[in-house]
Symmetry: C2
Subunit: 545 residues, 2 copies
């Protein structure tokens, strides 16, 4: 029986509006039409202009028959058109499918086919691989070329150019707001190490909450100046296209992520915030000295994808960067876990600070819950910092599920928790620390070895730029650790010296049996492709045997 | 027909959790258990302790049969128990009914009867009026005394004391989260000038969003130190009990709002944020010099309830307070409109800045929409800064409606907009400026006079502390302005001098015909009670006639 608090007190048009990040652009364009929205090379656009271009884009898509529930794909670096797509595509009622620029034609073709994109925006520099993928398709989308003046090379392969396409759109177009905040807003394929990519479907509600949550977790001010080092195709740039717009900030675009370009942009545009994997920090730390301190303002950087090495954090902080370590997955719209800092930790010795900062941490203010638990029973492990379990999450910043993949969707949500597949310990203070991705545990003689622990030891070596450790099959021990090491420019090391270095720091069974000096294969987001290294390790083992 | 983006991609326990501010306490108590949560006189409690007390409170309420949809009332100044009630009451599934401490027994009895409170928490200092109200009730709630050690006087009238009550509660109690984010969380009666008070019912979803929205609009950092000058009974302290907790900040309680006490607390506890009506600013500006600059940190203050006089803003800014002008109503959880500042406005002359800052402004980032429109046709007025219409709002920070009052609920939401009853103009830049509360327009000889405009002229006088202008009946003109003026200590003025002052600044028909020197009657939130003055003006007119 309804209570007095329910009778006649339902939702109506005045007191309930579906949450959508589209509201942010409308508000900022109305309140701050003159504030700088976009910087890209010589291009400057304010929020009135950005809004008009997004409305034209939405209108142009609608003119081509794109509507609610349709998919619109894009492959591009971090350029203004990509920011526009984050608003213009959902304003047409459609779902934005951002494609990883490092994928090969096969994978792109799979995504276009599986996602059923009706329109495909292609940056000129990426048109060769896009054309190759399109050639594999039975049903081809409408292809629109983005002919960015800062692009170099690449043919135009589409029906028309982006500028002509949106010029035909109506700037007075009325955006289609979601009918339900659960409506899909984006489709992002995860680059699994095996099998076909999975299409993560996110919803307007989560995008809205995460866009705001970014600002809360990072304590962002009004008018941030945000440098686009994080790929926008990666979990919708972790929702920052929407966050920065909500805060009336400036999007500083960047086609190529490279140390000098980053530091120059920070100085030139007064950048206050950026995100990126630890590899981006390494680029900045190793940039030429004349650009490394050419800016005056403090800069906040969020880093994810791997625990940042203490040495890199130290070098960044010396350059007046404030580093926040976050963790997440595509399924939760990017990071939703933060190593929330306690002010009193600033008084600890540097080593202790580094140890604390390497932990993934606690849920964002706007994420609901996280446990480390037994994957089958869902019983939480003891908060002892030792017992390993699987990280599980629940909350509103969480995908609807995987597109056309009910079995995997159901399995991933089993028991009312999202199963991340990441293995971690829960510390007594409630902070989570990843010990390994499920597949990355090395089991040697019945003992578990965390590849991260071995990598930490390698990172501490002054001559080592980057390192990755994987399992190498071994007849006696089952598996042994095999290290792949990238040296700093000009450095020289031999295998034995590296193993000796580790033996000084690690239990003997944890030390690499083999060390390979090589450039590490990385994904576009800076994650090391361990599956490639695992194959190399297998080959090494069989050739040795 | 469901699309691929819907099939098998519904809400489940892992990806959908009802939004509720109760999540904030759980998170902060988990991440920052040791951080200071409450300061009250000699009392210091951290978040672990605050959380435990809230859980005990919820458990104790449940033990007494309080559950989902029940009402729990409280009458108290800004003390720790009031913060606890904001969590403990909804944790029991119940609805928090905060009662204005300035109300008389009749009004309190009406509220307790209408809201059907099952439990009533009474601060000792307010027990006399509470007892008087309780004596009028046929069905009495369980009365619990809050015996604050800082209270002076007052008898204990309840069945038991608060500390004993919660001591019986179980700190391991499992909070009842809302079954639906639309569930009621609070009941606040608006003090209408005529008729019975209306019971505004707010929901968990709006409370969550507004708690976060406060932080976004005010660009609040982590760990704010918040001084409780704003009454907590007023729109749930505008949701700041939840905001400050979400940001792991410190609640600095304050029984009595008074200039020296405020400034002393700011210095002693490193207060960073506070809210209050302009009258609170006046108290601070007029506090003794030895306390007025005894603090080092910059302090942010939100002010609402009336446009702040330029002279007061100037004096506050000279004391290193950063003033943000906001506007709202109980129906929208307090302020949801802000005079969003443009950095370039800092370069304007002081007069222009004051004129801009006096405007109510634009919707908060997390409020959806606002128009100034014809109350019948809902057609927006031109954005010309001249044409007067009614402010209407829609969004998620909006009440469910009025309790047991379907006719008024329906009327207030007519046409899909909430009708505020406030009259305003829309400026060309999209900023709203209130010209008068509906009842406060003075119509003289067919011309509309905004009482605010006349009051602004009076406020500019160096000897005038406060002023209010209302309509006085007039046989010839229908109405004429009558001014009630409060002088600064030691100042002397005669009626004619005040009228002359106005004539130099206003069109003749707008100038007061009568000036009364008196202390202005104010509500507990610092709003001047114009209905009292209107009666006085009517009496003056008839005695003159």
């Amino acid at each position: 029986m309804p209570t007095d608090y329910e009778t006649g007190l339902g939702r109506n048009a005045a007191n309930y509006v579906p949450l959508s990040p589209l509201s942010f652009l409308r508000r900022t364009a109305s309140v701050y039409p003159e504030r700088p929205a976009i910087i890209h090379g010589p291009i400057r656009r304010n929020y009135a202009e950005l809004s008009e271009r997004c409305l034209r884009l939405a209108s142009a898509l609608a003119q081509r028959g794109v509507g609610r529930g349709d998919t619109v794909a894009i492959i591009a670096p971090n350029i203004p058109e990509f920011v526009e797509a984050h608003f213009g595509v959902p304003m047409a009622g459609a779902v934005l499918n951002s494609i990883n620029t490092r994928l090969d034609a096969d994978a792109i073709a799979f995504i276009l086919r599986h996602g059923e994109a009706k329109v495909f925006f292609v940056d000129r520099e990426l048109s060769a691989v896009a054309a190759e993928a399109l050639a594999m398709l039975e049903t081809k989308p409408l292809v629109i070329d983005i002919n960015d003046p800062l692009a170099t090379g690449g043919a135009l392969i589409g029906e028309m150019e982006y500028e002509a396409f949106i010029a035909a759109g109506d700037p007075g177009f009325t955006p289609l707001m979601p009918l339900d905040e659960w409506d899909a807003i984006a489709l992002n394929y995860t680059s699994g190490t095996t099998g076909d990519p999975k299409g993560v479907v996110s919803h307007h509600r989560g995008a809205y909450l995460n866009a705001i949550g970014n600002g809360v977790t990072w304590a962002m001010p009004h008018f941030p100046v945000y440098l686009w080092t994080l790929p926008m195709f990666h979990c919708n740039g972790w929702c920052f296209p929407w966050t920065i717009t909500a805060l009336a900030g400036t999007h500083v675009c960047l086609r190529r992520v490279e140390g000098t370009a980053i530091l120059t942009a920070i100085a030139e545009h007064g950048v206050t915030h950026l995100c990126g994997a630890p590899i981006v920090m390494s680029m900045m730390v190793n940039a030429p000295e004349e650009v490394s301190r050419a800016f005056a303002q403090p800069v906040s950087m969020m880093t994810a994808g791997a625990a940042p090495p203490a040495s890199v954090i130290g070098a960044m902080e010396a350059m007046d960067f404030k580093i926040t370590h976050v963790y997440g997955l595509t399924e939760v719209y990017g990071p939703c876990v933060v190593c929330a800092w306690h002010p009193e930790w600033n008084d600890l010795p540097a080593n202790d600070q580094a140890r604390l900062k390497a932990r993934q941490g606690v849920p964002y203010e706007l994420q609901e819950d996280m446990i480390v638990a037994d994957p089958v029973s869902l019983a939480p492990v003891p908060s002892d910092g030792v017992t390993i379990g699987e990280i599980m999450m629940r909350g509103n910043v969480m995908m609807k599920g995987y597109l056309k993949n009910p079995a995997t969707t159901e399995a991933s949500f089993k028991g009312g928790w999202f199963h991340t597949g990441d293995l971690a310990v829960m510390h007594p203070d409630g902070y989570v620390e990843i010990k390994d991705r499920s597949k990355d545990i090395i089991i040697s003689g019945g003992e578990n070895i965390s590849s991260i622990e071995v990598e930490d030891a390698l990172f501490a070596h002054p001559d080592i730029l980057s390192a990755a450790v994987v399992a190498m099959p071994d007849e006696k021990w089952g598996e042994t650790p095999c290290a792949f090491v990238e040296l700093k420019p000009g450095a020289h090391l031999v295998e034995e010296a590296v193993i000796d270095w580790c033996r000084e720091r690690l239990a003997r069974f944890k030390c690499p049996r083999r060390v390979v000096f090589t450039e590490l294969p990385k994904t576009s987001t800076g994650k090391i492709q361990k599956f490639v290294l695992r194959e190399q390790a297998r080959a090494l083992a069989s050739s040795a045997g």
